[in-house]
């Protein structure tokens, strides 16, 4: 495939641009997206107490990888990307200490500075604990338990919020933090899964490269990142001949019951599917391209076709397979032709 000189997001990114006209295609996109989206996403990465040098180093490494991916791959402005750690002097990228006060202060700063619809992604990396029915994320000094985290996130108001707790014993966070406009990902299914987790390592990997872009739309949704991470964690345990001791959950419908296998068709996954991170490379359309009314029309038409595909897919179970495939193929051919037209006008064929 050849690309035009200008880089333009594919259908998925455009879906955000045209969210007003597309049923079911809403949701925040995280990325610089200066010309495309008004939302200004914020990413707070909290690296908790390591306990010993190996963990301290590994946790910070994973935190830094996420932090750098937010800055570099997704092009977020520096003031929107905050990394806290137990020892701020370990790396210049660390903005502050990840104790209770530091965390509360960072969240308060986002609450003060973020736009009313700016999405917020909070990622916890470290050890968790679960005792007496209470799940905690271990911080230097006093911990924050799941309910306290939930209360803290409530200070962000109506903003879309996602929390990714990669720690051991993080399962109870799914229920405690769940709520409207919230996506919660936990590395474990229950508080009883106390062993060291690998979730953060592969979540960082999902953010760093293109491998987790499972629907090839050029963007990375939290649902995709979750699916990728879950699969790679399972593969890691299998290759190491270890019993899988962490079973991740995703909760985004607010009922507090996380799903091990969420999907965009629900019950969990439909919000996370549209909680997307847009690589900077896709989010920078040239002004002259967006001024071309034909390209805009073509993009709108292609986006509408994508929505038709989604609708058709939703009816698949009740359709004759041959008829389904025939209709699907017709829609896809139209998408392909639109992409060619867009590319021919210098708008890039797709993601």
């Amino acid at each position: 495939m050849t690309r035009g000189a200008l880089r333009l997001p594919g259908g998925g990114a455009t879906a955000c641009l045209l969210a007003a006209v597309l049923a079911g295609a809403g949701g925040p996109i995280l990325g610089a997206s200066r010309g495309l989206a008004a939302q200004q996403p914020h990413v707070l990465t909290v690296v908790g107490l390591g306990g010993d040098p190996d963990y301290r180093e590994a946790f910070l490494d994973w935190g830094l990888r996420i932090h750098n991916a937010a800055l570099e791959r997704f092009g977020l402005p520096g003031e929107h990307v905050v990394l806290l750690s137990e020892a701020p002097d370990m790396d210049p990228a660390v903005a502050g200490r990840s104790d209770r006060e530091g965390v509360e202060s960072a969240v308060a700063e986002i609450a003060r500075g973020a736009g009313p619809q700016d999405p917020v992604l909070v990622i916890l990396i470290g050890h968790g604990s679960y005792r007496g029915g209470e799940a905690r994320f271990n911080l230097p000094g006093p911990d924050l338990n799941a309910q306290e985290w939930s209360a803290l996130l409530a200070t962000l108001g109506d903003r879309p919020v996602a929390m990714v707790n990669t720690s051991s014993s993080s399962g109870p966070f799914a229920e405690a933090v769940a709520g409207p406009n919230r996506t919660v990902i936990t590395a474990t299914k229950t508080g009883g899964e106390r062993n060291e987790t690998q979730f953060a390592r592969f979540f960082a990997e999902a953010l760093e490269g293109e491998a987790a872009d499972l629907n090839k739309d050029g963007m990375l949704s939290l649902l995709e990142a979750f699916e990728y991470t879950r699969a790679e964690v399972a593969r890691f345990y299998s290759e190491e001949n270890l019993l899988l001791t962490e079973h991740a959950l995703l909760e985004d419908n607010g009922d507090g019951q996380g799903s091990e296998e969420p999907s965009r068709d629900g019950p969990d996954g439909s919000v996370a599917a549209f909680f997307r991170l847009v690589p900077a490379s896709l989010a920078m359309p040239a002004p002259e391209v967006m001024a071309d009314s034909v390209i805009v029309r073509l993009l709108n038409e292609r986006t509408a076709l994508e929505a038709s595909v989604a609708q058709l897919r939703a009816r698949r179970a009740e359709m004759d397979p041959d008829r389904y495939d025939a209709q699907l193929e017709e829609l896809l051919v139209q998408i392909a032709l639109k992409s060619r037209e867009i590319e021919a006008r210098g708008g890039g064929g797709g993601p």
Binding site: M1, N215, K216, G218, L328, L331, L332, A336, S339
Partner: protein, 902 residues
């Protein structure tokens, strides 16, 4: 059954007096003085001091007279020692009084004098003697032995009324109740619990008497609870280590558990009672299982000398005669058994089991069917029938019979395991090919199907061409992702260590996912098992095990040089040291191995025999052997006619072949101590050498000295080389590793010279030499998964497409569950222009459920289109775009397929 109210009366008091001393004797025999000679004699009996007991009893029972209690005890002691005729005399011979007649009846049963036994029981029962109930039970048991089962069951059933209706029963009568209820358990399995309770009650009433405890052990064993049975026998043997009943029970429990000490324990029984029929039959049965027909016959004939009417002994004799091909003798034995009990199922059940043990599964079905015809409630026979029906393809009927068997014997773990496994069959998928029905678990069917189907059909074609004949088709090939399930499918129990089993045209094996990567080569195993199907089919299941196993390994090697059991230094040492039987007796190493490794070595040795036969006589000789087995001829006769060698000559010729072929290797291994003869500690030390990749940390000077002392010995060279590598002295290591390689060029293990040389080369940047060393090692070992992968990595560095492809194909052959490996192989096939190979590998990637399914579907679509399958290509493309509707390369391919491509 309900417990009756206790009504102490004179009978109970009498029993109490009788058993008081034994109670004390059992607890602490040496310390408690006997209160009378009789009690002292009983104490001696219960402690196994038979001679002392007899010394005390003899004066009390002289001339067939004396106190009945003393005569009863005297007869019991003599009976325990197998002195049945003397025991009968002590009881009074033909003039035995009614109150001792039931004991006479039991002893007469021991020696097969059924009519006299019946008369004795009847005399006791009709006299109203104290132990008349025991005699009544004897009559019931005799009726059962004669096949009058309804009559017998009516007698047994009356014991429930006896128990519920009478007051307190004495110990002997309670024992009789327990025995009767045990028989009733065959129609009402829950009654086994009642039998157990009755035996416990009897044990309370007969303190110190071993019989109730032995009976409880026997009951546990009959319900497959050997640990519980051992506990009961142990309780008896703690008081009397020579108790023949407990020893016999322990021997049977050991046989049940596959413990090789069973024969020795049975022989302990014979030390106490050389005429113990049960022990002789047990030993004979074990010999028969090991196909030692002569030894089995010898034992069973001794048993029949004691009891010519032992149905169990006749069953084993018939089986031995059947195995030996003695049709006249077999017919006579069956007629002899039928004359005693025309509906006895045990003879045909034994025949069925022996037939299955010797791989004659259809014959096993017929024998088991006959057993069930004779006794529809012979649940063991029904189970044997069901098992062998499923082995021979009668799956529906087999399941139905297994369910019926389990309903009749719900304690049977084989039946339960099998039915549990059958419940999982809904998760399996059957794939049909030209000659096979391949049964794969649904979760891996898509992945394995193309590989398994290809290897199966390739093997079928190759073996058909070699043998000029085919087994019955379709061949059912079942692959289980759980070794436990494979084991249950094969034996009904977990724990089978084998990788695959051939029942003829039904092959059952571990799927590659059943074991860790590198544990086994499924394709090689498949080939091996299919070879058995040919051997069994062509010989009509008459081929001996050593022949079929050796030939199957030979077929593996013919198919791929790296397949099959390798010739290891340890094997050659064992062969050289005379630890392996000669060729003419090699079957013994398979059916009764003398040490754990002997079976593995026997596979190797048998396969080498076919190298020799094929090299010296041509493959037609092998075909002639198989035809000869089909005609019912044995190995010595066939060797004479085909090889023109008698057994001794054949052994000598093979011996010369081995010495010539392995002259150099033998020189390098035989002058050092064999690990097999080393102490355990030494072997553990040696074990560290055998762990690939683990540095061997030994004193280098010691190792150097060993090499100086034995410069032509392989093992010291290898160990020194390994240790030098670990110490980083690579140049010196290389010298010794190369010498080790020269001494034993086909050393197959992955800790050997080639692996270390490869690492040394790679460390020096000599990538091609490193890759070549790994390739050479990979050509000697069918399981070297990591070696294949290492070689592939190096070949990739060298941009050696063909070399990398070849290495990865071998890796997939061992363990096909790594998606990265398939993806790379697809790329290599693509470069090589093998479009079919690309499709296969892309399918494999997709079947492994990668997280990026859109990509996997798209890649497969591309491969299919390139391979000319536009229709499925389109379908796969739609699946990709269904997930990722804006996936640009996929959209472009879609337009191409629609004719709009640019």
């Amino acid at each position: 059954m309900r417990r009756s109210l206790s009504r102490p009366g004179p009978l109970l008091l009498a029993v109490t007096v009788l058993v008081a001393a034994p109670l004390q004797a059992r607890v602490a025999v040496p310390q408690v003085p006997a209160r009378s000679s009789l009690e002292a004699a009983r104490a001696h009996l219960f402690a196994g001091r038979y001679d002392e007991a007899l010394d005390l009893l003899r004066p009390m029972t002289r001339n067939g007279r004396g106190d009945p209690a003393a005569r009863s005890l005297h007869a019991r002691v003599l009976r325990d020692r197998g002195r049945y005729e003397e025991a009968l005399e002590v009881l009074g011979g033909q003039s035995t009084p009614p109150d001792l007649a039931h004991i006479r009846g039991e002893i007469l049963l021991d020696v097969g004098r059924w009519d006299e036994a019946e008369a004795a029981f009847r005399a006791s029962a009709e006299s109203g003697a104290r132990d008349a109930q025991v005699a009544r039970l004897g009559l019931g048991e005799l009726a059962f032995m004669r096949g009058s089962r309804d009559e017998a069951m009516a007698v047994f059933d009356s014991f429930i009324d006896l128990y519920n209706g009478a007051g307190t029963l004495d110990g002997e009568s309670t024992m009789a109740v327990a025995r009767a209820v045990t028989y009733l358990g065959r129609t009402s399995p829950s009654l086994f619990q009642d039998a157990l309770r009755a035996y416990d009650e009897a044990a309370d009433k007969l303190p110190g008497d071993p019989r109730p405890l032995v009976a409880v052990g026997d009951l546990f064993l009959s319900k497959y609870a050997s640990p519980d049975a051992y506990d009961e026998y142990r309780r008896v043997l703690e008081a009397n280590p020579r108790d023949p009943g407990a020893l016999w029970g322990r021997a049977r429990a050991m046989e049940f558990d596959g413990n090789p000490g069973a024969i020795a324990t049975a022989e302990q029984v014979l030390e106490v009672n050389p005429r113990h029929v049960g022990a002789r039959v047990l030993i004979a049965r074990i010999h028969l299982k090991a196909e030692a027909v002569e030894a089995a016959t010898e034992q069973v004939r001794e048993a029949l000398d004691v009891n010519p009417n032992s149905l169990e002994a006749l069953a084993v004799l018939a089986a031995a005669q059947h195995l030996a091909g003695d049709r006249a003798g077999f017919g006579a034995t069956v007629r002899r058994s039928d004359a005693l009990n025309p509906s006895y199922p045990g003879l045909h059940t034994t025949l069925a089991q022996v037939s299955a043990d010797t791989r004659k599964y259809r014959e096993a079905v017929e024998f088991a069917r006959e057993a069930v015809r004779r006794d529809p409630r012979a649940w063991d026979a029904l189970g044997v029938l069901a098992t062998n029906q499923r082995r021979t393809g009668a799956l529906t009927e087999g399941r139905r019979n297994m369910e019926a068997a389990f309903a009749g014997d719900p304690y049977n773990p084989w039946f339960k395991n099998t039915l549990d496994l059958l419940d999982t069959w809904a998760s399996y998928r059957t794939v049909e090919t030209e000659h096979f029905q391949i049964v794969l678990h649904g979760r891996e069917a898509e992945l394995l199907e193309p590989y398994v189907a290809d290897v199966a059909e390739e093997a079928f074609a190759a073996l058909s061409a070699r043998y000029g004949a085919q087994p019955p088709t379709p061949i059912r090939l079942e692959l289980y992702p759980s070794s436990a399930d494979f084991s249950v499918r094969t034996l009904g129990m977990v724990g089978l260590g084998a990788l695959g089993v051939s029942f003829g045209s039904t092959l059952v094996m571990d799927s590659p996912s059943a074991r860790e990567a590198g544990d086994f080569n499924w394709a090689s195993t498949l080939w091996h098992e299919l070879a058995h199907a040919f051997h069994l089919g062509i010989s009509d299941h008459n081929v001996p095990r050593w022949f079929s196993e050796g030939l199957a390994v030979r077929e593996q090697r013919v198919a791929r040089d790296r397949w099959g059991f390798p010739v290891s230094p340890v094997y050659l040492q064992a062969w050289h040291d005379g630890m392996m039987p000669p060729l003419s007796r090699l079957n013994e190493a398979f059916v009764r191995p003398q040490f754990p490794q002997q079976v593995v070595f026997a596979y190797t040795q048998a396969s080498l025999a076919f190298d020799w036969i094929e090299e010296d006589y041509g493959f037609q000789a092998v075909r002639d052997f198989l035809a000869g087995y089909r005609a019912g001829r044995d190995t010595p006769a066939l060797a004479r006619s085909i090889l023109d060698l008698d057994a001794e000559e054949m052994d000598g010729a093979f011996d010369r072949y081995m010495r010539e072929r392995f002259r150099n290797e033998l020189a390098a291994v035989v002058d050092i101590p064999s690990p097999l003869s080393a102490t355990l500690e030494e072997r553990e030390n040696d074990a560290e050498v055998a762990v690939p990749g683990v540095p061997v940390l030994r004193d280098l000077e010691t190792l150097r000295a060993r090499v100086r002392a034995q410069p032509g010995a392989f093992q010291p060279r290898l160990e020194l080389g390994q240790s030098l590598v670990a110490a980083g002295l690579l140049d010196e290591a290389e010298e010794h590793l190369r010498e080790a390689l020269r001494l034993f060029p086909r050393y197959p293990e992955t800790d050997g010279p080639l692996r270390h040389l490869a690492r040394i080369h790679e460390g020096r940047g000599e990538i091609r030499q490193a890759a070549d060393a790994l390739r050479r090692l990979g050509s000697l070992n069918e399981n070297a998964y990591e070696v294949y992968r290492e070689e592939a990595r190096l070949r990739r560095t060298l941009q050696d497409v063909e070399g990398e492809r070849d290495a990865l194909v071998k890796a997939v052959e061992v363990f096909p569950y790594d998606p990265d490996l398939h993806a790379r192989l697809a790329e290599l096939h693509e470069i090589a222009g093998d479009t079919g190979g690309v499709v296969r590998e892309r399918r494999a990637v997709l079947s492994l459920e990668p997280v990026d399914r859109a990509e996997a579907h798209f890649r497969l679509a591309q491969a299919l289109v390139a391979n000319g399958d536009r229709r499925e290509g389109r379908s796969q493309l739609l699946r990709a775009l269904e997930i990722a509707p804006t996936y640009q390369p996929a959209l472009e391919l879609l337009l191409q397929l629609r004719g709009g491509g640019s």
